[in-house]
């Protein structure tokens, strides 16, 4: 079976762009990706795309050109981008197509996501009594994790400090100023133990990736960035997910653990082989949990890793080199693809100020979200 290669990547800066809707940000990213690949829209044979709040991706053809291509919309919550990439890779692996696109974009209103209890199978009282907040879930989950693994609140602050330090070096990031640890630790609490510097915000942005067969990629002549694997998994019994009025006393594993294991098996690699990783950091606690859930360190070692700087850009395993969701915000449809975009840039060696030193060869992404889905990719140059 042919390897799938990422031959082009485009991004619309994350954050807030007044006067440009989510779809137009998507179109912007596609045009940039086409230019990056050195092809025209007419050369693209198929597309998978999605957004959570900015409309049906396939309607983009009215802006990009009515070439008649197959364009399938993907709606998979926080895994929308990852699922679009997954589907695009499968279409090439099957031999049906040589070159295609995965695109994700979004534009969310300010503030925490508003949710309707009925849509989650919950009674109205659940919302009326004040439980319908994603921030509570993240706070309660990491509160338990810190307790079980003897980690301090300062570990959360260190994750945020690193995110803003990396974001300051990243053109596509939203938060571009460093914030020191003391300021972070003293900020107003949102949902204990997480304060306002420890949560990402819903935002705007778009990413487009052009994928091609190995043969086509060689013809195009750019750097060969191989998508070794793209895996999406759903939750096992006993996982702890958002908007749960009850959870089982008997605790289980996580969607991320399952996805990571499958991805490493498919790629024939282990965590020790990865040179750079982008891990879901909806809030700082998520990055901490995901360091262990993806197999990069044992549960409980994260604070030591952070203090020693092992996840810094010049550390043993740089994590979230563009500042992650904490610095970029989280436009749901684009967020997972942003991670892959960043890895493409890192593997090409064109990340400038935030470039991981030592000529990285392997790169890992993991996106996690409601209702307990996780998507992992591994790239290799």
């Amino acid at each position: 079976m042919s390897d799938v290669c990422i031959v082009g990547a485009g991004i619309h800066p994350f954050g807030r762009t007044e006067g440009r809707d989510g779809m137009d940000q998507g179109v912007y990213a596609v045009r940039q990706a086409l230019a990056d690949t050195g092809i025209a829209w007419e050369d693209v044979e198929f597309a998978f795309g999605g957004s959570a709040a900015s409309g049906a991706a396939d309607t983009m053809v009215s802006k990009l050109g009515l070439t008649g291509i197959q364009f399938i919309n993907v709606s998979n919550g926080c895994a929308t981008g990852g699922s679009a990439l997954n589907a695009a890779a499968s279409a090439i692996k099957s031999g049906e197509y040589e070159i295609g696109m995965a695109v994700g974009f979004d534009k969310h209103p300010r503030g925490a996501f508003n949710a309707d209890p009925g849509a989650y199978g919950l009674p109205n009282w659940y919302g009326e009594a004040g439980y319908m907040l994603t921030t509570q879930f993240f706070g309660a989950k990491i509160m338990r994790y810190l307790h079980e693994n003897d980690l301090s609140r300062e570990a959360l602050g260190r994750v945020s400090e690193k995110a803003f330090r990396n974001g300051a070096k990243t053109d596509h990031a939203w938060r571009r100023s460093e914030v020191d640890l003391e300021t972070i630790m003293n900020a107003p609490m949102i949902s204990d133990p997480l304060n306002k510097y420890m949560f990402c915000s819903p935002a705007e942005g778009a990413v487009a990736l052009i994928l091609a067969s190995e043969k086509k990629a060689k013809e195009l002549g750019g750097p060969m960035i191989r998508l070794k694997t793209s895996v999406m998994r759903t939750r096992p019994p006993g996982s702890f997910e958002v908007f749960a009025a009850s959870i089982d006393n008997e605790r289980g594993g996580t969607a991320t653990e399952i996805a990571a294991k499958a991805a490493f098996e498919q790629a024939g690699m282990g965590p020790e082989d990865i040179d750079v990783a982008q891990l879901q950091d909806t809030e700082s606690g998520a990055e901490i949990m995901h360091m262990a859930e993806n197999g990069f360190c044992p549960h409980g070692d994260q604070e030591k890793w952070l203090i020693e700087g092992r996840t810094e850009i010049n550390g043993a395993l740089p994590v979230n080199t563009d500042g992650g969701c904490l610095a970029c915000g989280e436009p749901i449809g684009a967020s997972g693809l942003r991670q892959v975009y960043e890895n493409v840039v890192q593997l090409r060696g064109t990340a400038g100020e935030r470039q991981v030193p030592g000529d990285p060869k392997t790169a890992y992404t993991q996106v996690y979200g409601a209702p307990g889905v996780s998507a992992v990719t591994i790239l290799q140059r």
Partner: protein, 135 residues
């Protein structure tokens, strides 16, 4: 008229002495609350009124709708949201009452009570929600 529970089927009775859980007749698996639509495989069960705090957080800002409690930013009082482990049954998401956020400890013993969603509402209009308090 006395204060009423915020919803039917939340408590076992109007004295609000126990929460209603959902027991799967085939597997014995227990969850909370009852499903929105009746299901032949599910039977109601009274949940234990004592348990321990498994984890918690504090809601520090007034939530947006559908929250129906007091949300005035000037007078908003943060509230504690916990998962309370009921032995042999399930962990229930619940407010904690009668304890300040800084005094909550994972593992502390708590028991069921009911509190008004808006303590300033007239008694006749009060909607009661479930909460656990330190034993």
């Amino acid at each position: 008229m006395n204060a009423q529970p915020i919803a039917d089927n939340l408590f076992t009775d109007d004295n609000m002495t126990a929460l209603v859980g959902a027991r799967n007749k085939q597997t014995g698996h227990i969850s909370f609350p009852l499903p929105l639509t009746p299901n032949d495989n599910i039977e109601p069960i009274a949940l234990a009124s004592r348990g321990t705090v498994w984890t918690y957080t504090v809601q520090r800002f007034p939530p947006k709708t559908p929250y129906a409690g007091p949300a005035d930013p000037e007078n908003f009082k943060p509230y504690i949201v916990a998962y309370v482990s009921l032995p042999g049954q399930t962990m229930v998401e619940s407010r904690l009452t009668g304890v300040e956020p800084e005094d909550v400890k994972i593992g502390m013993e708590v028991e069921l009570t009911a509190i008004p969603l808006d303590p300033d509402a007239p008694a006749s209009e009060q909607k009661m929600i479930h909460a656990f308090q330190p034993v």
